[in-house]
Subunit: 306 residues, 2 copies
């Protein structure tokens, strides 16, 4: 499938993360995954600053080049990212505290800062481009959350949150941590966020629109690849150490797959898999997401529950 | 007092944090404290990388220039920092999740990454200079924790941890958050860490020793000033919003002051306030710490419980 080996996914900085979805060898279950300390050091080198982005052209594009319908579709597409980033930053605290090794914990500390940076990125983009016509981070989050579909709520507020709440009180429960990392790193970041990012960046690059947004969103995607690489490493280590963890990963993927599919589809879209958004059908989106999951699962040592 | 207005504390990047301890005007209770979003942006600009430091000269100094006694005293002085950084990274998760505003939470996310970076800094310094003769982060933490005095355990494992555990299960308990930020940002970081850092950096600069360590430790201190500036802003906002929060800050400082004094004194030191370590008496250390607390409390709107 060309999307996973297209020009952007061949970027040196993306591949430096060792996310198996970016490697052809992962189809054979082969990948050199970075260690936790190496992933920490990569975070230091892949620093970026929201304040360096320039949204001048983005504002012109948004208000003068896009019509009402396009603005709505774009705003819809971004809302899940904005809200998603905000939810995960808070949820990562208990995961970090529950990590069984110090070097795992250090990496998760850097991921918490990344999620905050992603919220700051959307906050600044929404402000400077004036996407919603409201001021203030809290007001923007409230306004944009109206565009989420019900599966988003199930995924974050039920499936992820129940695990995180348990880890907050029982940090030594390693099996729940395995489930939480499967949901967070493999599904939310690996299947959903990176798939959406891929097609949104592609579309804007083809159209030559929102250059400041594209620059920032590529940085966001690079961060996500690094997080997913951590998840793949962690789950591979856990799967090798205890067969019960293999069962936990498979069980969680089975539970979450139908919900994840729902999140990939806008709530205003007709019930038709050929329906296209920005030139991409729901079928194509789903294929991209499951292809990435499959590569990662092969490297972890499992067969994907596709 | 010259220490708080000495050459290093006049550094532009230190003063950019708005930590009241660095400002003469704070003696009159006046300081322009940065907002939460500004503190986040400052974090983006004040990025640094542990991997950029060069410890070649440090290793020569440690093994060829220092004798056995000096190595012990230095190792002792650093152990509380190494262990302290590791403890606080995990404890910050529940504080971050309990923050009542989104912009506060974003800043605390960046602080979590800073604490991880500080652990990585000590880990690399201890490895490359070969301070302990043991490999592995967990092994180093175990070996160095033997040098802690009992008050350190009371402060971290009882006073701070009891608040953090409560916030992990009751994140809406704002009064406990005020107490936790008082202990963490005002006492542990503001009084203890920054005081130790000040004298350790001073001594090495005077002696011309450990240049790689000094470069990194100045970066650590700059991060701490930014964290303390956040704490001062948060506590000022809380104190202005509810007089019960003023009482909570005062009560917590009263409870913690005797323990904090104990932490400033090595467990092997004689019971004599004129006893000097690296040319500085316990009395001088204590005066520096309380002076900094007093300035911050004046800006928050309280009189320091000195």
């Amino acid at each position: 499938m060309s999307e996973t080996t297209g020009p952007r996914t061949e970027r040196v900085d993306f591949r430096a993360t060792s996310d198996p979805a970016l490697l052809d060898s992962a189809d054979r279950g082969e990948a050199h995954l970075l260690g936790y300390g190496e992933l920490y050091s990569l975070w230091e080198r892949q620093h970026w600053a929201v304040q360096d982005l320039d949204f001048t052209q983005d504002k012109l594009d948004w208000h003068e080049r896009f019509d009402e319908e396009e603005r709505f579709a774009r705003m819809y597409g971004l809302s899940a990212f904005f809200i998603g980033e905000q939810r995960v930053a808070a949820e990562l605290g208990p995961l970090m505290r529950a990590a069984p090794q110090e070097d795992m914990r250090l990496f998760l500390c850097t991921q918490i800062a990344d999620e905050a940076r992603h919220v700051a990125f959307f906050d600044r983009f929404y402000s400077e481009v004036d996407v919603l016509g409201v001021e203030g981070l809290e007001e923007k989050l409230a306004a944009t959350s109206e565009h989420l579909n019900p599966e988003f709520g199930v995924l974050f507020d039920e499936m992820l949150k129940s695990r995180v709440d348990r880890l907050a009180t029982e940090p030594e429960d390693l099996e729940t941590l395995v489930e939480a990392i499967t949901i967070y790193h493999m599904v939310i970041e690996g299947m959903l966020a990176l798939t959406g990012q891929h097609f949104i960046i592609d579309y804007n690059e083809r159209e030559g629109t929102l250059p400041g947004f594209v620059e920032g969103f590529i940085n966001v995607a690079r961060d996500e690849h690094r997080h997913v690489a951590f998840g793949a490493r962690f789950l591979r280590d856990m799967a090798r150490s205890d067969p019960r963890h293999v069962a936990a990963i498979q069980r969680t993927l089975g539970e979450i797959a139908p919900v994840a599919e729902g999140v990939l589809k806008p709530k205003w879209a007709p019930d038709d898999d050929d329906f296209e958004i920005f030139g991409i059908s729901v079928t194509e989106t789903r294929a991209f997401a499951f292809r990435a999951l499959e590569r990662r699962m092969k490297v972890i040592g499992l067969v994907a529950a596709a």
